[in-house]
């Protein structure tokens, strides 16, 4: 860049009274881990890197696919042609946007064994994920290490976000003690997703991140923000009274990190010579096949009886068959890769 002052590129942002030169310098010295780099994650990464957040670690397990381009703003057709992992494709683009900050792409499935390594050296954790297992894991770790994080999710034309500052705000489990059961919440694959809805909610998250990192904790949103861009609804739900849930929140009050300790969550088993992986839950739940069948019919063919639900799917030329059981367990045929099975399960059954 043809400029002598390295801060010049941030001049418009520094003019904001809440940021200024001091706030900008804090942003440049701050470190963030972004968990997931899909629709939310690309918007977040874009905003943070442009704003001059000094270090952004981007962790994602997936590769860029054609159905991502409708809303995942950092990717283009070249990334698909080159079959790039999302973390790498995003880093490549982001380095063109701002070569003065550090971007660390990591292609990995975030789990309870590596999450601490990925997040221990940052000031803020951002949720760019597509599944609840990861969100509860982030919540456990953020409370354990006393680091702020910003939750968001979007499906259909709806989005939701809340900002968690340990010791100051409710944590995710104060508000939603249990994750929705498998199949209970829609996913982008089953319910669809409106690109702008993800964009709005992720930018809201990004603004929260910039407030926290520039030292403006007083300015953060302490409510649960819920919006529906199709129905023109924007709501703020007051959650402050839920903080610690009267001393009984398992996570932030009792400090039982059940997701980090592996009491909840999924496990995968590669099944003997069948090119299939079983995804199961450490604590079993009950699935409603009728609801699940309804949500899956837009993506493939579904049949079910009271013992099992079969779902056949063609995704980018690959054929997969899900056999789902009432306790949430699923055998996914068509892959022997546990990571791929987790991705498919998160997309279609939803967890």
């Amino acid at each position: 860049m043809q400029t002598t002052d390295p801060l010049e590129r941030y001049s418009r942002q520094m003019r904001l009274p809440g940021i200024g030169k001091a706030g900008q310098e804090r942003l440049l010295a701050s470190r963030v881990t972004l968990c997931g780099c899909g629709a939310l994650g690309t918007v977040l990464a874009n905003a943070l890197v442009r704003a001059g957040v000094g270090f952004v670690r981007i962790v994602d397990r997936d590769f860029v696919e054609p159905s991502n381009l409708q809303r995942q703003v950092l990717f283009d057709e070249t990334d698909i042609a080159e079959n790039l992992p999302k973390a790498e494709a995003a880093a490549r683009k982001l380095r063109q946007i701002n070569s003065t900050v550090t971007i660390e792409p990591i292609v990995a499935d975030i789990n309870r064994s590596n999450i601490e390594d990925l997040c221990h050296d940052v000031d803020l954790i951002l949720d760019g994920s597509d599944n609840f297992e990861l969100r509860y894991l982030i919540n456990d770790l953020a409370i354990k290490l006393s680091k702020p994080w910003v939750y968001a999710g979007a499906v259909g034309s709806e989005g939701m976000s809340m900002t968690i500052v340990p010791g100051q705000t409710p944590c995710l489990r104060c508000v939603f003690e249990a994750a929705p059961a498998p199949g209970e919440a829609g996913t982008c694959e089953t319910a669809g997703v409106l690109g702008p809805a993800v964009g709005v909610i992720a930018n809201f998250q990004a603004a929260e991140a910039l407030k926290i990192l520039s030292g403006n904790l007083a300015a953060i949103n302490r409510d649960l923000l819920v919006l529906n861009l199709w129905d023109n609804i924007i709501r703020r739900v007051r959650i402050a009274p839920l903080a610690g849930r009267k001393g009984k929140c398992p996570c932030c009050a009792l400090r039982r990190f059940e997701w980090l300790e592996g009491e909840h969550g999924t496990q995968t088993t590669t099944l003997c010579g069948r090119n299939a992986v079983q995804v199961s839950h450490r604590r079993s739940s009950r699935l409603d096949f009728e609801t699940l069948a309804q949500s899956l019919r837009t993506s493939g063919s579904v049949t079910y009886n009271k013992f099992l639900l079969k779902f056949q799917l063609n995704e980018n030329g690959e054929f997969y068959e899900f056999t789902v059981f009432p306790d949430g367990r699923a055998i996914i045929k068509g892959t022997s890769e546990p990571d791929k099975a987790r991705i498919l399960y998160a997309r279609y059954v939803g967890y």
Binding site: R112, S113, N114, E116, G262, Q267, T269, T270, L271, C272, G273, Q278, S280, R282, I331, S336
Partner: protein, 383 residues
Amino acid sequence: MIYLDNAATSYPKPSSVYEAMDHFARHHLANPGRAGHKMALTAEHTLDNARHRLNRFFNGRSPERWIFTLNGTDALNIAIKGVLRDGDHVVTTNVEHNSVSRPLVALAEAGRITLTRVSADGVGWVDPAAIEAAMTSRTRLVVVTHASNVVGTIQPITEIGRLVRSRDALFLVDAAQTAGVVSIDVQAMCIDLLAFPGHKGLLGPTGTGALYVGPRAEAIIRPWREGGTGGDSSSPTQPRELPYYLEGGTPNVLGIAGLIAGLDFVESQGPERLRQHEIALCEKVRHTLSALPGFDVFGPADPAQRVGTLSFRHHSLPAGDLAAILDQSFDIAVRPGLHCAPYIHRHLGTYPEGTVRISPGPFTSENEIDRLLAALQEITTGL
């Protein structure tokens, strides 16, 4: 019985270990990863959880790098026989247990490898410079025990690890006497392979052990035992993925359930606190015996340099006799002899009679140590 043989296997275990194993055996003892039914899944979760816990405790790179073994010896054999190739040179020390020495000497005698054994100093401490001096361009592997099972000396593992890495060899550490009582960080210590039993300082049952395989070792290690892995059965040979590559056969999931209960206890107390308890008891013995006529006590004087294992002998009473009297007349269990480590005894001048070794555990009381000391005085009075 006053049990002072925790360096061989710890006893008693925390009661939570017995309870965890009883519960697991009655409710969940299925074959993990072979079926996918509820019990098999619980068993598999127990294994996954155990790998996660070991990985966290020893700061490994990832959980699948923790291979369950029968014991420490099994882990050492998988490591040694898995990474060595014909013509390789190996550096080890004269402090090693036979579980390291015997596989190496057998390979050397068969003409497969060449072996250099570096000597410790008078208290059983190995100088990293001596290891470095022994290394050649053919050195594939350096094997060092983290702490002597005879005199308790803790070796400078981090320094040795760094220099082995700088010379591009692999570093195998035998943590039989340290896992659970000395903090180990495999990444910071540049350890490529860490072998340990589950039934000593980690307070699990016999029949358990583990081997950590770091990325540099993973690139060359080959399976020494092959068989069923529960997944990928169509492959004609062992699947390449860890841990299955090195873990053929049904794992000891019952023992592992107990091992993790033991690790829970260790983590709740903290390794350093457990070691402090044990060395304080050993110090009392060292202090008292040093003042009594006829006793020689071995190992470093500085308690910071040792684990809770102490060797001594009496001038006129062979170690075996002394141990038999302690057992027969005082109901005190100690370990006499060479402790499967003949080279260090030769070095100390205690070969072939050996020494009496005491090794207290987390549940050993000061009163029990006082009774040992009273017994020793009574036995040796007038000799």
